[in-house]
């Protein structure tokens, strides 16, 4: 299988790689670029653990080919904190005990941030539907929803 | 002392629900039991636990059995 040469941007850094044409972007991130923050929970777009943004759009990286990333801007959970400053959502996940095992956490953070970027003051129902593509088996989602609410408040305060 | 036997262990003790045994520790209890009812061996291999006053002991056979304690033999439990 011929490899595809790809030039792209990951968390603001220029990155190049060669991957087989049928390799998922998730496998590229994890196995070629060493970014194991995105997880494979299903490989079929049902669990959201591999969530990233592609040109600002929330997607499951298991359902994107590595070859498709040419010229795109990718962000992953590894790019969420600003240096040593955690993003408010990351901080609130810790403060609200919104994670137990933590395997789904990177996906929730990326999806939660995508939600707050487009809707700074979401209702509980909006949060729940926006995160419906991210499965968590430990928490019953209770503390996750509360963490997103708290982060929304933090971000609103930051803007003022 | 009287030792209660849970369902599956009764068959090995000729159907008795409760038997009289003198023992100071769990290990002694189990040894006496085995002497009297060799069929218990099979249950002990699968796993056995001892309840003393409602607290369940699965492993610690050196545990002392207080006088007048409520003692009950159970199959060994596991969990998720």
């Amino acid at each position: 299988m011929a490899g595809v040469h790809v030039s792209t941007t990951v968390n603001g850094d220029p990155v190049e790689y060669v991957c087989p044409a049928d390799e998922s972007l998730l496998d590229v991130l994890r196995d070629r670029l060493g970014l194991t923050g995105a997880k494979e929970g299903c490989g079929t777009g049902d669990c959201g653990a591999c969530s990233i943004t592609l040109d600002g759009q929330l997607v499951c990286s298991c359902l994107v080919l590595g070859a498709e990333a040419e010229g795109k801007k990718i962000t992953t959970v590894e790019g969420m904190a600003d240096g040593e400053n955690l993003h408010p959502l990351q901080r609130q996940f810790i403060d609200n005990a919104a994670l137990q095992c933590g395997i789904c956490t990177p996906g929730f953070l990326v999806a939660g941030k995508a939600l707050l970027d487009r809707n700074p003051d979401p209702s509980v129902e909006e949060i729940r539907y926006a995160l419906a593509g991210n499965l968590c088996r430990c928490t019953g989602y209770d503390k996750i929803v509360r963490a997103v609410q708290a982060a929304a408040k933090d971000l609103q305060k930051q803007k003022k | 002392m009287q030792v209660g036997l849970s369902g599956p262990l009764r068959a090995a003790a000729n159907g008795e629900a409760s038997i009289h045994i003198e023992a100071e520790t769990i290990r002694e209890l189990l040894n006496r039991l085995l002497e009297r009812y060799p069929a218990m061996k099979q249950h002990m291999e699968i796993g056995i636990a001892v309840s003393i006053d409602g607290a369940i002991y699965r492993d610690n056979w050196t545990t002392k059995i207080p006088e007048g304690a409520d003692v009950y033999l159970l199959p060994r439990i596991a969990g998720g």
């Binding site: 049928d22 998922s24 080919l65 999806a111 539907y129 419906a132 593509g133 | -």
Partner: protein, 285 residues
């Protein structure tokens, strides 16, 4: 497998028609890449159409309708206020496909060409009278209800692909709606889907189209169901007749998602509920 990313529809057609092995069109990939991953397909060529500029556009047609490019994602469609206002049923149906993550990639055309009987956007498109613009050796335009010919099968010939979906101009006093039944609140495949599009004249249904999903080998356009409400003001009797006509049209199967009995019953229920929403949207009371 080769991956190609042409920048014109013609180049895409060339690639597809010249390929001797198995060739697939990649739009959002939310079905195709699942099949790839599950080893259900072994492509020799995948043609990504997302770098063809025209296929990423939503345009107004000269006669007041909309032309939605084949690579337009559900999220992009949902963000378009004009279409959401004119064809809320179609937009809602498309936005029901999967999660926000899936919405970032999935397309109406992909949903159609995947040719699943349970595709959410397809009954809504059929009810709306949408047409598929096909490119290939020749261009042709085909009503959406004629595209899917069986589970996983379409009327597209080798070397053909759908370039865009055209929605007609919204008639005055008209409304559309799509409802699906799933066991959870999100993330499931429709057990039953029902779409209704109707136009009113003085509170009476003048025109209507009713389409059902997941109740037969292909999405169904149910003329008898439309006839049941045309000429009525959607009174209880008309709704009863609508439900009965929808249930009668179902030719479902028992599967892991639902039983024949269940689908037949719920198809009628959903069609009634969708009709009420469409009626309200059309300004009926």
């Amino acid at each position: 497998m080769r991956y190609e990313s042409p920048t014109t529809a013609k180049a895409a057609v060339d690639l597809l028609s010249k390929e001797k092995g198995k060739a697939y069109v990649l739009a959002g990939g939310t079905d195709l890449l699942v099949r790839l991953r599950m080893d259900m397909i072994e492509p020799d060529l995948m043609v990504d159409i997302k770098n063809i500029p025209a296929m990423n556009d939503i345009k107004k047609t000269p006669n007041g309708g909309f032309k939605i490019g084949a690579a337009v994602s559900g999220a992009k469609l949902g963000a378009n206020k004009a279409i959401s206002k004119a064809w809320p049923g179609v937009v809602e149906a498309t936005n029901l496909i999967g999660s926000d993550q899936i919405q970032g990639r999935c397309t109406m055309v992909g949903n159609l060409c995947n040719a699943s009987p349970a595709a959410d956007s397809v009954p809504a498109m059929i009810a709306a009278g949408a047409k598929a613009n096909i490119v290939g050796k020749k261009r042709r335009t085909v009503p959406v209800e004629d595209i899917v010919t069986g589970p996983g099968k379409t009327a597209l010939a080798k070397g053909e692909l759908i370039e865009a979906i055209t929605l007609p101009k919204k008639a005055p006093k008209s409304g559309d709606a799509y409802l699906r039944f799933i066991p959870r609140t999100e993330m499931d495949i429709a057990v039953v889907g029902a779409a209704v599009s109707l136009t009113l004249k003085k509170g009476v249904v003048e025109k209507a189209r009713v389409a059902l999903g997941a109740v037969a080998a292909t999405p169904l356009l149910v003329k008898e169901a439309a006839d049941a409400i045309i000429g009525t003001s959607l009174d209880d009797e008309a709704l009863e007749a609508l439900g009965a006509a929808c249930s009668a049209a179902c030719k479902p199967i028992d599967d892991k998602r639902g039983t024949v009995e269940y689908r037949v019953k719920v198809a009628g229920v959903l069609a009634q509920r969708a009709a009420k929403i469409a009626y309200e949207r059309a300004g009926g009371k």
